[in-house]
Structure formats: structure tokens, C-alpha cells
Symmetry: D2
Subunit: 405 residues, 4 copies
Amino acid sequence: MLAKIGVLTRNEFQRLKRELKNVIALDQAGKFVLTVEDEDVHTRIENHLTGKLGALGEKIHAARSRNDQVLADLRFYTKEQLLAIEGALLELGGALLAFAREHEATPMPGYTHLQRAMPSSVATWAASFTEALLDDLVVLKAAYELNDQCPLGSAAGYGVPLAVDRGFTSKLLGFSKVQNNVLYVQSSRGKISAAVIAALSQVMLDLARMANDLIVFSTAEFSFFSLPREMCTGSSIMPQKKNPDVLELIRARASIVQANLMQVIQITQSLGSGYYRDYQETKAPLLESLGVTKECLEIFVPLIRGLGVNEERLLGAFTPEIFAADAALELVEKGVPFRSAYRRVAENLGALKSRDAKESMLKKKHAGAPGNLGLEKIGRIIAMENSGLMKEEDSFNRRIAALLK
Amino acid sequence: MLAKIGVLTRNEFQRLKRELKNVIALDQAGKFVLTVEDEDVHTRIENHLTGKLGALGEKIHAARSRNDQVLADLRFYTKEQLLAIEGALLELGGALLAFAREHEATPMPGYTHLQRAMPSSVATWAASFTEALLDDLVVLKAAYELNDQCPLGSAAGYGVPLAVDRGFTSKLLGFSKVQNNVLYVQSSRGKISAAVIAALSQVMLDLARMANDLIVFSTAEFSFFSLPREMCTGSSIMPQKKNPDVLELIRARASIVQANLMQVIQITQSLGSGYYRDYQETKAPLLESLGVTKECLEIFVPLIRGLGVNEERLLGAFTPEIFAADAALELVEKGVPFRSAYRRVAENLGALKSRDAKESMLKKKHAGAPGNLGLEKIGRIIAMENSGLMKEEDSFNRRIAALLK
Amino acid sequence: MLAKIGVLTRNEFQRLKRELKNVIALDQAGKFVLTVEDEDVHTRIENHLTGKLGALGEKIHAARSRNDQVLADLRFYTKEQLLAIEGALLELGGALLAFAREHEATPMPGYTHLQRAMPSSVATWAASFTEALLDDLVVLKAAYELNDQCPLGSAAGYGVPLAVDRGFTSKLLGFSKVQNNVLYVQSSRGKISAAVIAALSQVMLDLARMANDLIVFSTAEFSFFSLPREMCTGSSIMPQKKNPDVLELIRARASIVQANLMQVIQITQSLGSGYYRDYQETKAPLLESLGVTKECLEIFVPLIRGLGVNEERLLGAFTPEIFAADAALELVEKGVPFRSAYRRVAENLGALKSRDAKESMLKKKHAGAPGNLGLEKIGRIIAMENSGLMKEEDSFNRRIAALLK
Amino acid sequence: MLAKIGVLTRNEFQRLKRELKNVIALDQAGKFVLTVEDEDVHTRIENHLTGKLGALGEKIHAARSRNDQVLADLRFYTKEQLLAIEGALLELGGALLAFAREHEATPMPGYTHLQRAMPSSVATWAASFTEALLDDLVVLKAAYELNDQCPLGSAAGYGVPLAVDRGFTSKLLGFSKVQNNVLYVQSSRGKISAAVIAALSQVMLDLARMANDLIVFSTAEFSFFSLPREMCTGSSIMPQKKNPDVLELIRARASIVQANLMQVIQITQSLGSGYYRDYQETKAPLLESLGVTKECLEIFVPLIRGLGVNEERLLGAFTPEIFAADAALELVEKGVPFRSAYRRVAENLGALKSRDAKESMLKKKHAGAPGNLGLEKIGRIIAMENSGLMKEEDSFNRRIAALLK
């Protein structure tokens, strides 16, 4: 862009670009080392250029400030990570869906308040998380959209007295648009980070819920599911232990993401417009949250694939009371008003008989019920989202490749 | 729907509907009172119907549980409030834009770290908030989309053994789709509330930032802006005081919304799948957050409209140092590498001369800079968003009117 | 105090005091009503006095500001509530201790990671909460000490040019000391509220943990404990349900207190020295947290007293693996190095035999272990704390009585 | 202790101790390296001992679990850090007091709502923070007391079937008491960490408030204070900048501590009794919070010592309105009821005359007011606290020295 507007000649641009590509090569060879004296990577690169190209290297910082550079880096990185997270999310959604298909007809007691409530199925449980993850995509995409704005040209928040072409820069870097107002660019730093972490927080709520379920459902007392051995650890004092450490860590790391959200919000909220150094402390929580969410999504895939289902224990938990609502609703079908039917069953709980769990479960045939989960349709949605995601990734990768050519 | 699937006869449906409309009329006349004994509004209504219609009233609870009823209420209410919030947001965005237009050429020092940085303008400051609010719309719409799913038919989270037509119910109530998996419906309660509050939190971050700015800019020491008298209060001991209480309350209420977000996240994250009574404590924070955000957006509109601009003080703050970056970039235009130009200016700060603030500010002509804020285009975006919002509101209102016919 | 320093004559003081006592009487008779026009209770009282006593009423606000008045009220109220909370805490600690004594020899599996770990006892579980609550007293007392400072005389944060006797005021109101620096008085408002809520948060962490335990231990699958019927509620659709709603609400309300803590911290942290209206929004979270904590402590007392213990189920959960560490440590007693003993047991888990749960549990005889819980000593500590608390309450009540004489 | 109860012979104990001291020596020489394969430092040490001493090394884990070992380490470390933090706090309190003494008679406008309110002094401002820090000591000591309990002997939370002497262990390690109930030991992990971070949070609230003040008071517009040059940084685009980065980072790091508190609370609150792996994620926030608080206290000492006071600007801000309350209270002294005096001044604000700032400020002579700050007494309190702290540190260090002999 600096070449396009005449701040650099064509030749200067070529020399700078060649040397910048050299920096990448050095870095890939592990030979581009930063020390504390370098201040940061931007100064390190400028110093390298100046060392190699003399005064020409000093031209590179024209029309920008460290503020908008750091922002551009952050958005770039966040974009890449969000795409990877969406990919991991769709893979986990798919793994859960496959698990649901495999156990579509396996009865499982449905719980409310952790008390046995009504007949349900393993597939209902598993597919509920696939749908949850698909909802998360909605907020992830909104966060992606906010993040996908090019900050360059804002400089320190007040623009520069040069005829920079911000649209051109934005296009080169593959951003979907220029973030217009130069002051808003700076003021949006903490806020967009918060929006991203809030979206990740939605994902972590789902993963924590799944972890909570699996920890309870794999106790000796429930024994509905058994965790893959490699997802458990032992104890230094108790030789018999097989503990669900991976699930506990996922659950606890959800709290890391939530705390990171609070940190970014709290820092951001106490500031006025424009850049403050406080924003530096919103960076680690953003990066950590992206990393934690990605990792937790990824670890869950083999965990679900290796999850054992103990049908005997699941059936054993179908004690007669679990059919109480069914019994009441049968009376409703015979014309008894619901409230009377409810009372009649409640007064004769002892008389409730055990029923066939699978039959009861499959009798719920309306949309989204155990007997009609719509797994095919969910599969199609996942496929469609995957294909959209791949297009976005392709375009992003092509953009980067073009830059590096 | 119950009539459609034959649980109610046409005649029963008519009688129930007539009596339900009667409940609304009673309520509007202040004659439908709830007491603690009534448990909740749903039981109160059922009791009313039973009182009036006998056994027929007992039929009304068929195919549903209090869990999905409460969820449906919450989503309905949230939808209405989100539409109102989007309206208030666009109005404030418009007021800020009008303010920006009025002061498009009024210079204002740009600050970073609360230290004078570079020339800017009153319009740059004001329009930065309009753009911020428009970004908030992206996350508000995502939250709206999550919330706009019909939960009815989930019952207690495991469906019902009746052939309910969930799509029909959803359409009647104006939801954009059925939330499919019956278990996910319940598990999504806290999570969708969190997504809504997280979106509101984005709005409050902007309002808090604007409040922070105005509190500082209206001190005796800055005196850039003067607040409308009716937005200030006095002191019980100091006769001279004119305090920015409204702004301080808005800022503090941003923390209410953030704390509410934490509360909902914390409650939700510790639960497994299905309904738990804990969810009750996610309701107040959701309702409060909706109310607070709407109110704070609304109060800001007259505050911005009545904001006084003290041009003399603004100009007085343009001390020579604020032009240092301009001076360096002028050397760049003459071909001096940026880093050398920077050093040259830094070593002769004392020699910097005062310049014409307006001229300097207007020289930044690239997209989004003080001399080229694109206010027209922003105005068109606001108009477009307003028109989309009105359509959504219309459709929502028509739906409700049809229900009450 | 105003009489003592001559701002009021003796006679004026008597007339004002008489009328102030009249206000109390009116209030107790429900005849001292506040309307929105009254601004707040302080203005309402001043207006009442002026109405009755003319210009004399206008003298009452001398040497103070609403800022230090509101602070004095808050500290007074907080003090009273903290004393009540300490009382409720000791009562619950006592109830748990009594429960522990009753079940001192009842075996209960000890869990880690919600997996069966080692033999333990019902008393170990119950007494662990008594000790937890006693630790909470340490932080509650620290918070009490911070709160027990008299703010009056700070006025708006900068004192008054009158020779007020702050020590005398403090003594009259029963504060343990004057909070000295007039500016710190104002700056400490949010901070001391945060310290109080942080102490309450410790209590709620214990109550939430106890609720979490009881919810799991009273599932059909565990069935170790049964909750008093009146602490459970049913379902509107499932006639058989007996849900632990009270425990779920306690657990969720713990999150209210934690969110309130965040709110107060967040508001406080963004402010500089001196009074800001933002502090108003730290009041509701303080009052709510005090109320919630007190209520949750109180409701737990009858819950623990009515808690049923199912010895058969407890014993049934002592499957052989739970004795694995015991088996390894027996080898240690015979001279086998621990790590070898551990390996030997781990390699022969199948060979582990069931043992007598009670015997195993009682074999742990070192301090604090199931066979030696020190319940007597804990009982003595509770008695001692109760007696200290009663002294503090007495002195507080005598002080108030003296004021009202 | 294992030697005392006969699990180790005297000779075995001597050999183990020698080798353990050897580990320390190796570590100090940088030769005791941990790799990922080592699992953790405890296993690494045990492996080292086994490598050197054969089967004897395998004896070392008797009577303990990694759970109580990790807890013991954490408490030890926390204790050491809390003592260092109290030391740093007292040093900063002293630096502020010295600053207050130096500027005892320097007038400074007192602000409320960031609006000029009443006459005050530089010393009032500075000493308000010394008093704040002394209040923090109260909660820090309470947290220290909770932390100062010996967890060893709890093992995995259910004790061990060996006659361990917990009191002896506790005394050897310098803990002030044994934490009695073996289950409470484990359940208290997150809770005590939360209590410690909550105490640190109080300190950070004070440091953030001081940072907020100094950032505003060192703007070009206020210019009351000037920050030491080495506490400021420049800009990469604006040659003139001198930004208060250090203060901004301290302020932002306060939010790190607050977010850490939330993280620990959130993780802890969702757990039942006994150990869960989730607790691992409460460790980093504890360590980080201790480190951040210590560092921020320490950096503030040279900042306060190097703080420049601009008396001219301070005096210049004493515009006549700041004396309005003084004028009203003068009328009170002449017998005018306060409310009438207030009205009379309010109606003639224009007539207010400027006064001598110092005289006005010194006229407030009651306890804690600008004219009577009690700096001597505060100095004595700091000296006393310092001496108590040194005793505690001495005893702690002697204990460690004895262990290593």
C-alpha cells in the first residue's frame, strides 16, 4: 500500500518485501530470535530491516502506530483461531451425532434435578449437545464478523496526514471490511475481544455441561457410561482409582474462559476512548481463551468416540416411577383432563407398573422427542456448515499465500 | 394446537380461549391479582379456568410442563425487549450522528493514555460511538436469533407421548423456528440468557466508555463539554455542586449487567443436562439486564442532544506538542524515512510551533479519519437498520394481535 | 455531639431528640411514609423536623453530608446483619455437630473425583462443614472489624470547619473506633462492602458444597441421605417427583453473592478517591448478600436436623476396591516400602476382599481422621464463639437502647 | 515424623534426609531438572531417592497422598508470599506517609464526582492510602491465619491407618496449627485460595484507586502531579508522548487479581466435598495473584518517592466555588441553621470570594481532617506492624533453617 500511494518506490517495496520474506525464512529456521532489548517483534523487524537496508528500513513505520499494528496482529490471529475452533466444533458435533445414531434406540432415564424424571434415550442426550454446538456457531460467527475488520490506518487512533488507501490494505490482508472511524478502531479493542471470549464462553458452557453429565454418569453408582481408560488417571495413594481427570480439567477450564471474559470486560469498562496501556492485559486472556476452547473441543472428540455405554445399567434405572407422567398422559388420551389424571397417578404411585423402556421412549414421536430426533437433518446442517467453513478457510489461506508470494 | 391434534374439541377450545381472553381483560382492569398461595401465574390461570369452566380447565396443562412454559414466557419477553433495545440503540446512534454532523469541523484534541496525542474532532469522537453501536447490533441480532426458538413441546425436557404439532405452536407464537431436541431446550435456558446478556454487555461497554469520557471532559479542568443541567445533581453540603450523577449511574449500571452475566454463567456452568431449580436465579439477572440497558440507552439520547460544546476550551488544549506526529509525517512526505523524521522531531520538541487545529485535523482525509468520517454512509446504514427493525416489530405485533383475536 | 460542641443549645438538643424519637414512634406505627418526592429518608426526617420545629430543624444537617450519613447507616445495618449471620452460622455449625455425634460410627464411603476412594464416616462428612464454618468466622470477624469504624465527621470527604468531636460520636453509636482520614472514609465505601461480601462468599462456598453433596447423595442412585419432605417440591407434569429445590436454590444463591462481589469490586475499582454516585450501585448487592447468606444459613438448620441417613445404602457402597489403600498401608506396617505395596495391590485388585467398613474407618485414629474427629473440642469452640458473640450483641443492643432513651 | 512413629528407622531417616538435602543442593546448582515424563516434582524426588537408595526411597510416600502434599506446598508458598506482601505494603504505606509529611501544608482541591468540592491537602490524599493499606492488613492477616494450617495427614481426604503424629509434622513445618478434619482439609483448598485472593483484591482496589487518581492528576489539564520519567513511556508515532504506562498496567493488573478471584470461586463453588482435579486450575490464579500484588506494591514505592508536586497548579485550581461549603458553615457558626445558610450561599454563588487555600484547609482541625491528620500516630502503627511482621518472618525462617539442618 505504501508503494501504491508513493511513500515507497516500486524498487524500495521490492527490496523491503524480499527482506521481510527473509525474516520469515529466518524465523522458520529458528534463527530470528527476540530478546528483551528488542521491545517487541515490530521493533525487532524494523531493526533487522534497518540493519540490512539502512535508511530504507526506517521507512516501514510510516502511516502506522504500534497500536494499530498490534490490533491487526490480534485480529489476524483471532480469525485463524476462530476458524480452527469452528472446525473442531463441527467435528465434535459430528462425533456426537455419530454416537447418537449408534445408540438411537438405547433407552436412558431422563433426569431433572438429578432425579429420575421420564424415559429418554442415549441419542437424545448426545444429540442435544450437537444442537447446542450448532447454536454456538451463531454467536461465533457474529464475533468473527466483528473481528474481521481491518484496523490499519487508524494509527494511534486519529489517522495520519497521508493519503493512505485503507480499503486496499484491508483487501490485501483478507479482511472483509475496513473498520471505519479511526477512534472507534482503538476503542473497540477490548470490546471485540470481549465479544470473542463471550462466544467461546457459550461453547465452554456446553462442554462443561457435558463434562458434568459424564462425571456423574460414570460414577460407580450410575455407571451408565464408561470413559476411555486413557482419559482417566490414577491416584498416588489409592491403587484402584480411575478418575475422570480430563473431564474435570475441561470443566475447570471453562471457568478460565469465564474469568478471562470478566477480566477483559472489567479492564475495558473502566476506560475512556482511545488507547490505554491497560489493553495489554486483555491480550493474554483472549489468546488463552482461544487456546483453551480449541483444545477442549479437540480432546472431547476421542472421548466421545471411546465412550462405553452400559445398557444394562441404563435399563436397570428404569424404575416404575419414571413412567408416572406417561401414565397420566395415557389417561389424557382417554379424555381425562390432565390435572385429574395427574392427581389420580400421584395418589397411586405404588401401583405404577414397570413398562418397556424402549417402547415408552419411542412413543414420543413429535419433533425433537426421543422417538423423532431428526438426526438426518442435523447431519445435513453439519455438512453444510463444514462446507461453508472450508470456503472461508480457503479464501483466508489463499490471501496469505498471495501476500507471501 | 391442542384443538388441532384433538386433545380439545373445537368447542372446548372456543370456551377456553374466550375465558383466557377474559383473563387478559381482568388483568388490564387490575382485577386479576396473584397471591403467594397461587404459586405462579400459570397455576393461577389454570385455577381461574377450572373455577369458571370446571373439568375443562384441567385440560389446559396437557402436553406441557411448567419448565417449557416458563421458557416460552422468557423468550417472548426477551424478544420484545430486544426489539425495543435495538430501537433505542438506533435512536441513540442517530442522535450521536446528528451531533457529529453539527460539529463536523470542530477540532478536539485526540487523547491516548489521557494525554494529548494528535488533532482530532468532536465529530470523530461522537461518530465513533455510532459505529460502536452499529457493531453491537451484530451481536444483538445473533442473541435474538438464539432466543427466537420455540421451546414448547419439550415439556420437562423429554417430550410428551402425544402427537403434538410443535411447528404449528411455534408459528402461532411468531417464533422463527422450533428448538428441536427436547433436552437441549431445557439445557439451553441459562446459556441463551447468557448470550443475551453478553450482547447487552457489549452495549454497556460502549455506554460506559461514553460516560467515562464525558465525566472527564466536563470537569472544570477539561471543560470541553457541558452537561445538560437536568442530568446533574447538587450536594447536600456544597451549594455550588453540579455533579454528573446520571453518567455515573450509567457507568455503575454497566457493572450490574456484567455482574448479571457472571451470575448466569456461573449458575449455568455448574449444572448438568436438564432442568434444575437453579435456573430460577438466572431470570432476575436477565430481566434486570434488559431493563437497565434499555433505560441507559434511552437516557443518553436527551443527554447527547443537550450536550454543550465549548469550542474555546477545545482550541485552548491544542498546545504545540499535539502536532509532533504531524511534523514528523510532513518530513516523511518530503522523503525522510519515518524513524529519522520521528527522531528529528523528538530532539527538537521545544521548536514545535502551534498550528491551525482545524486545518491539521482536516488534512487527515483517508477513510474514517477526522477529515473523512463518512457520516452520510453511516446515516444510510442507520436508516436501513431502522427499516429492518420496523418490519420485524410489525410482524411480531401482527402475530400477537392474531393470537388475541 | 452538636450539643456538646455548642452548635445546639441543651434545650435545642432536647427538643430535636424528642421529635426524633417521635419519628421512630410514628414509623413503628406505620405512619412515617416516604414518597418519591422526599428524595431519601434523611431529607424526609429533616423536613419533618422543620415542619414541627421550624428553623431548629434546619440545624440538624450541620457538620455532615449525605455521604457520611449514608455510610454510617450502611455500617450500622451491616454490623447488625453480620452479628445475626454469625449467630446463624454457629447454630448451623452446632446442628451439623449434633448430626455428626449421632452418626459418629456410621460408615460412609469417602469420594474423590466423585469416585469411591476410601472408607469414611457420616460424622467426618458433617463435621467437615462445622470446621469450615468456624474458619469462615475468621474472615467474617475481619470484615466486621473493617466495617466497625465510624465515618461521621468525614462529611463530603474533606471534613468540616467546625470543632466536631468524632470520638464522642463514634462512642455514642457504639463503633469500635473512628475511621480517621476524612478522604479515606469515602474511598473505603466500596472496598469495605467488598470485604464484607467476600467474607459472605466464603460462607456461601461452604453452603454450596454442602448442597452439591446432598443433591448427589440423595439421588436414587446414591440414596445415602433422604431430604426432609418439606425441603422438596414436586413437578407440574411428573406426579412422582420429589426434587431438592431448596438445595438447588441455595446453590444458585451462592452465585448471587459471588456476582454481587464482582459488581462491587468492578464499580469500586474504576473510581478514583472521594465520593462518586457510582457507589449507590454497591448498596443493593451488599444488602442482598447479607440477606441471602443469613437466609441460607437459617434454612439449612432444619434441613440438617431432618436429614435421614440410609445406613444400608451407605454400607452397600463399600465395594472391595475402597479398601485398596488400606491393604497397601497394611503392607507398609509390615515393612514393605509404600510404593512396592501400592504396586502389589494395584496388580491384584481382583483379589481385594471386602472388609468391615466400620472397623476400617475406625482404624484411622490420628487427629482429624474418622476414628478421632475431636467432636468434643469442636463443641467447646462453638460454645466459646457463641458466648463471645452474645457479648458483642449485648453491648451493641445496650448502645442502641442508650441512644433511644 | 515417619521416624518418630517407627515407619522409618533412625538410620533410614538419616539416609533419606541426607539425600533430600542433596536434592536441594543439586537444584541450587541447576542440576535437578524436571521433564514432562517426571509427572511432577514429588514423583521426580521419589524417583531420585529410589535411584540412589533403592527400596528405601519407596518408603517416603507412606502416610500421604499427592493431594495433601500439594496442599502443603501451596500453603508454604502462600505463607512466604503473604509475609513478603505485608512487608511491601508497609513499605509503601511508609513512603506515602513520608510524602504526606513532606506536603502536610500543601493545599489541594478536594474532589467529589471529579468535580471540585472542598479545600483539602496533598497530605490528606496521600495519607488516605496509608490508612487504606493498614486496613488491608486486617484482611491479609485473616487470610494468613486460614492458610497457616497444616494439611498433612489428610492424605487423600480420609486419613491413613497409621498412627501419624500430625501435631509434630505441623510444628516441624512451622504451621500455627493442624487443620483437623481430614475431609475439610481437601474441601478447603479452593476456599482458602479464594480467601487469600480476596484479601489481595482489597490491596489492588487501593492501588487501582491510587493509579486512577494519578493518571487524572498528571494530565496536561490537571497537572497537579508529575510522574517520574522512568515510570512513563513514549509512543512509536508521537515524538512528544510521556504516558503513564506503569500506572495503567497496575490498574489493569488489579483486574487480573479480581478475575482470578472469580475463577477460583467459580471452580470451587461447583464442587462437592473431597478432592477433584478441577482444583488444579485454582493454583495458577493464586500464584499469579500473589506475584502481581507484590510486584505492584513494590513498583509503587519508587513512584511515590519520585512523584513531583506542582503547587502552582494546585493553588490555581482553588476557584471561589470550592469555598462554598466553608461559607455556609461560617454562617452556621454565627447561629444560622445549616439549611438556611446553604440556601443563602447557593443563591449567591457569584458573590463567593476566593480565600486563602491553606488557611481554609487548616481550619478543619477535627480528627482526620486536613488540619489534623494524625500522621505521627499512623507512623507509630506502621512501626508496630513492621516489628510484628519481622517477628513472624524470623520465626518462619528459623523453622525452615531447622528443617534444613
